[in-house]
């Protein structure tokens, strides 16, 4: 499909020149692109990729035949609600549900799990949460638009907005769905129909110069801008401050989604910041490239959002985190445009100004364009898994892998609870043979090897690279695992683990139908404290639940999702059945806050990649010291003295 792009496209033209050592001709691109697509489909079974975009400074400036393609290039339309849920995660057509027989099911056609029956899900929910299919909540079926506050916007401003000719909307639904991210309390409020402050206007710039105009206008009229990318924030970053009396404009970058050029000599791509991860990877893959940046939210989250929150991707071991991938950033601020004048790979020019931008969380301006590193699509990919007798040995293995710097593209270690959860999402087995084989494996591990099924835990692996290198690395990792008592547990288990990466976010919506509320949160921590931190935080969650009157034991589970030289990233999942509690969200937030305090006291960071937002603001000072906060404040004061970017994140 990729090769069907117009020949004039700068993306494809260099491709036809045999300049890549390993790629002799354009014809070879096709199988590679196809392979890449298969890989992608392994994660998210998305239907047809859209045709590639044309290059152009801006649609508004360069009207022409390219215009129409550019418009449809992105997965996310202006009216997001046409394909995305207004009250939960992801696509409208994809969700967990219980069928008439009481069996779990995942609807839709997008994912591998789609359309499959999950026979173990019901029992797992009953066992883990004390939930019952008879006790259902009754959330709203449509957004509560009646109670939406009227938009604040004066006539003069409105007129000027119309004059600059950038599409905008004051439609209540458009405004409501841009008033939140995906924190538990935000989704809960939507389902309950509780509305507070929402943006007054939604505006869709389609290029950098549109943004310049909008920011200028906002500065002139003292309007508050809240940049909105993919809307996947889990830090309250998108929440409109209730005390904001000015007009709030939600600046939706979703239509700034073109790859402007690809530089194959330097292996970089210049991209508009509103592009979503899936569009970026798909479009690059059509030409044999990828960025390799795959955060779990990559279907929806945007490049600009990654920059603004210091995102991290699953395969950072090969490709690096966002700060390793970025070569150039352009950001529009009330003070002007901030950028660097060259694309040198590293500079010693004082503190890196990009580091003020990365992690600024929309408080300084809007990231409009980014130059990002690209790599050739991997030749070979292989999944894997290792089972360990307990979590401690699993961590020991990851630590050793990190020490020897032989980590595969991704290595994740689930604790026992998550391992069991993984089983709950196992689709109905196709044949007796598979089932028999599963039984045999289980017998081998638990009886023959003596692993306790209530202690053992599993690491999933994803190898990428040349076939030879992958096989070599695979052996290396399995050798290390064997030394600490781990057993290789097959490709299937690994693959299933990664398949769940994208669907797992859907499960909370199912839980909320049955009085279960939950959230995930993360941290990074030095190696020597990983075990202590995991144990203490889980225990803290359980103990706090008991003390705060939660009637059922909670789900408190964790996994180590990234390894570094000096530490690891740990992800927690926390959920409980809230029947019998009058104010579940407050209780939940108090418990989550106490868990965060426990994390900090155990040497964990405030956040590894979710960001601070408003949710974790209160701990920023103790995390980066008074002077550190002062430095950030002075930057904010210079860049945005009138607090145009007034989402009140971070500081």
């Amino acid at each position: 499909m990729g090769t069907e792009a117009p020949v004039s496209s700068p993306l494809t033209s260099p491709r036809s020149q045999p300049q890549h050592g390993r790629m002799a001709s354009g014809e070879r691109t096709q199988p590679r692109a196809r392979q890449r697509l298969r890989v992608m489909a392994g994660h998210l079974r998305r239907a047809e990729p859209a045709p590639p975009p044309a290059l152009g400074q801006c649609r508004a400036l360069e009207p022409g035949p390219a215009d129409s393609t550019a418009k449809t290039a992105g997965t996310i339309p202006r009216r997001r609600q046409e394909i995305l849920k207004w009250n939960g995660w992801g696509y409208n057509d994809s969700k967990f549900t219980f069928n008439k027989k009481g069996q779990g099911e995942f609807t839709g056609k997008r994912y591998r799990l789609s359309g499959m029956v999950l026979p173990a899900l019901k029992e797992w929910m009953e066992k883990s949460f004390g939930a019952s299919l008879e006790h259902r909540t009754s959330p709203r079926t449509a957004p509560n638009l009646e109670d939406l506050p009227l938009p604040i916007l004066n006539e003069e401003c409105l007129k000027e907005l119309k004059d600059i000719g950038i599409p905008f909307s004051q439609d209540p639904e458009d405004r409501l769905i841009r008033s939140h991210g995906h924190c538990l309390h935000e989704i809960f409020a939507l389902r309950e129909g509780k509305v507070e402050r929402v943006p007054d206007v939604v505006i869709w710039p389609s290029c950098h110069s549109d943004v310049v105009k909008i920011v200028k206008l906002a500065s002139k009229h003292n309007i508050c801008i809240i940049p909105f990318g993919g809307g996947t924030s889990v830090s309250d970053a998108l929440e409109c401050p209730t005390d904001e009396k000015r007009t709030i404009v939600s600046l939706d970058t979703s239509q700034m989604n073109r790859i402007l050029w690809v530089d194959e000599k330097n292996l970089t791509a210049h991209v508009e910041a509103g592009i979503t991860g899936q569009d970026l990877e798909r479009q690059l893959s059509e030409h044999g490239y990828c960025t390799g940046h795959e955060p779990d939210s990559m279907e929806f989250s945007s490049l600009g959002g990654w920059v603004a929150t210091r995102a991290s991707g699953m395969k950072k071991n090969i490709y690096g985190n966002i700060e390793d991938l970025i070569v150039y950033i352009k950001m529009v601020t009330p003070r002007g445009i901030i950028e660097k004048s060259c694309q040198g790979p590293r500079m010693s020019t004082g503190p890196d100004i990009y580091h003020f931008i990365m992690g600024s969380e929309g408080t300084l301006g809007v990231v409009t364009e980014v130059t990002i590193k690209i790599r050739s699509l991997p030749e070979y990919q292989k999944y894997g898994s290792i089972v360990f007798p307990d979590f401690e040995q699993g961590v020991a293995c990851l630590r050793e892998v990190a020490r020897q710097r032989c980590a595969p593209a991704s290595i994740r270690l689930m604790d026992n609870t998550q391992f069991q959860f993984g089983h709950a999402l196992k689709p109905q087995v196709a044949s007796i043979f598979t089932s028999f084989l599963d039984g045999l494996k289980k017998f081998y591990i638990t009886k023959f090897k003596g692993f306790d099924p209530n202690e053992l835990c599993v690491a999933t692996l994803l190898f990428e690279g040349s076939r030879e290198k992958v096989l070599q690395q695979e052996k290396h990792v399995y050798d290390i695992a064997a030394k600490v008592g781990g057993l290789a547990a097959g490709e299937d288990n690994g693959q299933r683990g990664y398949m769940l990466t994208f669907v797992i976010a859907y499960i909370r919506d199912l839980g909320m139908d049955y009085y279960i509320i939950g959230e995930s949160f993360e941290t990074s921590v030095p190696w020597d404290r990983v075990l202590d931190l995991c144990r203490n935080v889980k225990e803290k969650l359980v103990r706090e639940c008991k003390e705060r009157g939660v009637q059922f034991p909670p789900l408190a589970t964790c996994r180590v999702t990234q390894t570094y030289d000096a530490g690891a990233c740990v992800y927690f999942y926390f959920a409980f059945n809230y029947r019998g509690i009058s104010d579940p969200i407050t209780v939940f937030e108090q418990i989550e806050a106490s868990a965060r305090e426990e994390i900090l006291e155990n040497g964990g960071s405030l956040s590894h990649h979710h960001g601070v937002g408003k949710l974790r603001k209160r701990w920023l000072k103790e995390s980066i010291s008074d002077v550190g906060v002062g430095m950030l404040k002075s930057v904010k004061e210079y860049v945005d003295p009138n607090n145009i970017f007034g989402n009140q994140n971070l500081l």
């Binding site: 020597d528 404290r529 202590d532 203490n536 803290k540 900090l600 006291e601 040497g603 103790e622």
Partner: protein, 675 residues
Amino acid sequence: MAAVSMASPAVESLYPQKDTTLNKRDGFEDLMEERRHSSDLRYAMRCYTPVVYKDLVPRTPSALRNVVLKSDQVQYVIKQLSKETGESPDIISDEAADILEKMGHGLRLSIVRFFAFTLSKIFKALFQKVRVNEEGIHKLHQAIQEYPVVLLPSHRSYIDFLMLSYIMYTYDLSLPVVAAGMDFMGMKIVGEMLRMSGAFFIRRSFGGDRLYWAVFSEYVKTILRNGDAPVEFFVEGTRSRTGKSLIPKLGLLNIAIEPFLMGEVFDMYLVPISISYERILEESLYAHELLGVPKPKESTSGLLKARKILSENFGSIHIYFGQPVSVRSLATGTVRRSQYNLVPRHIPRKPSGDVYRFLDAVGHRMVVLQQKNMVISPWVLMTTVIIQNLPSMPLPDLIRQTLWLKVIAEAFGAFIDWPVNVSADKVIRSSLALRHNIVKTVKNQVMLCQEETTAEFTVEKVSKSTVTVLMCASYRNQILHVFVRPALVAIAFQNAHSCRKEDVYSCFSYLREVFSDEFIFLPGNLVKDFDEGLYLLMKSGAIQGSHTDLHVAEKGSATISFLSAMFGPFLEGYQVICKYLMRTEFTDDFTEKRFVAEIRNHAAELILTGAIKYSEVLSVDMQKNALAALSRLGAIEKLKTAGGTACKVNKQTLARVADMLAPELPVKSATVAKL
């Protein structure tokens, strides 16, 4: 102002106000009861399956020792020492292994059974009853499964840790690993047996021995982290010779709590345990020690000689297992655990200021919790009266005053074990009979026995006659914690020569400061202490008053003067010491050793001439406490010299302390400004 505004009944729950005596006593179960009726052998051989910590990974003692030896903590210190001394790490490592070998407990069930058998015999012979609060046992039972546990018993006798292990065995609880003084090691066979029954040994002082410290602390922490067994040690550091609780020692407490502070365990429980003896085995030994007779080295033959005590009656023992206290709950909001984030956890470090204050507060709290559940016998009340009426008093007066005191003590929250269904007269007479080694009744007059002496020298003669006084005092001291707050308020009220509450408060705060090595006050609890003392005085009708003014109630003077007299020996003792230091020959530097020697002569003379009323100033304990207090108050200055520590007197401050203890003029205190 507001802080001292009103003595409210909402005084901290640490000090019980309501009479809990009855239900507490009902919860006690006599262990000996069953032992007297069934076979000790069968008891010793019974199936013993203690509950264990939920996350315990079982391991052998040698595996444990290996873990300690290989730990980053110990290896770090070995490397450091090797670098500094040039010694090969292997040699130092062997040394560490050797220390561990001496220290490491090797729990052997056969030895435990042997102990269970012999101790049954011994305890039956020594004690009438060994009573344990079973509710506390149940709580401990749960606590052990939940989190690592630290047992913190009071320390009055060698019997303490034997008794505790015995009780743990009886109730099917894991035997504690005890940190006991190295001097037990001198008791060859017994020492080895103690080790096998769970005790591990520490030297009395580590000095600068970093290897020993590293091995020892890592050993304790390793046990706690894995929850191998409850760890037991004495927060008072040593046996109290005086019957009063000692100021907590923080070294071991720091080691024990560090695994929590560093996040290596989620939480741990501290269990204060109060062991109250009706009669202490070492009573006479202690009195001699306090008067300067050195303590005999513990040896097995010494223990055998002590067999003759088996024929004596030592009354009852009460062991009260307090509510397990979660370290996490104590630490919340008081100590920043994140301070351990920036340095690798295996590098030894001194506790920072806030950790030190935290440990100090925890230590004090634990001692206060021990005090709270101490059981007080009638004899203790009697000694309190007798000491105020030396050399002798009529028996009827003793009975009357004891009963009067009992009422007040109970109102003040004392936990008194007074026999029911026995006439008061009989209780007191039988107590006197049991204590024929201390008191005698001649012609209805109660007086102290005197040790026969042929000594001619003054000091020795006076000392000898003071032995029984100090023995007596050691029982009176058991109740002082009940009275110390109201009594110091009463004394402050007298000394202040003022009715204004703030004057009384400032005087109280000074006295509390002076005596804070002598009695246990929770750090930072000054206002509450004052409020509590005043509240109790008002409740008992001794003092009346408004928000600003106080005065003695009509019937209150008896209480006030009794309470003041109870603490008279301390006030007078400190005064004597102050005055002595102010004499010209002491204005130069002096050493503590010289001081202790000379103050005794001086005091003895004063006693002989009748210039002072109480002879307790002869007690080394009081002398040392006073010196520590004076140093803390800046009245003397300790200087490090080549020959040890020398002291330098600050006359002005010293005069002020003396004046505060017995002011001739109304006190004008600077502390008023604080209010």
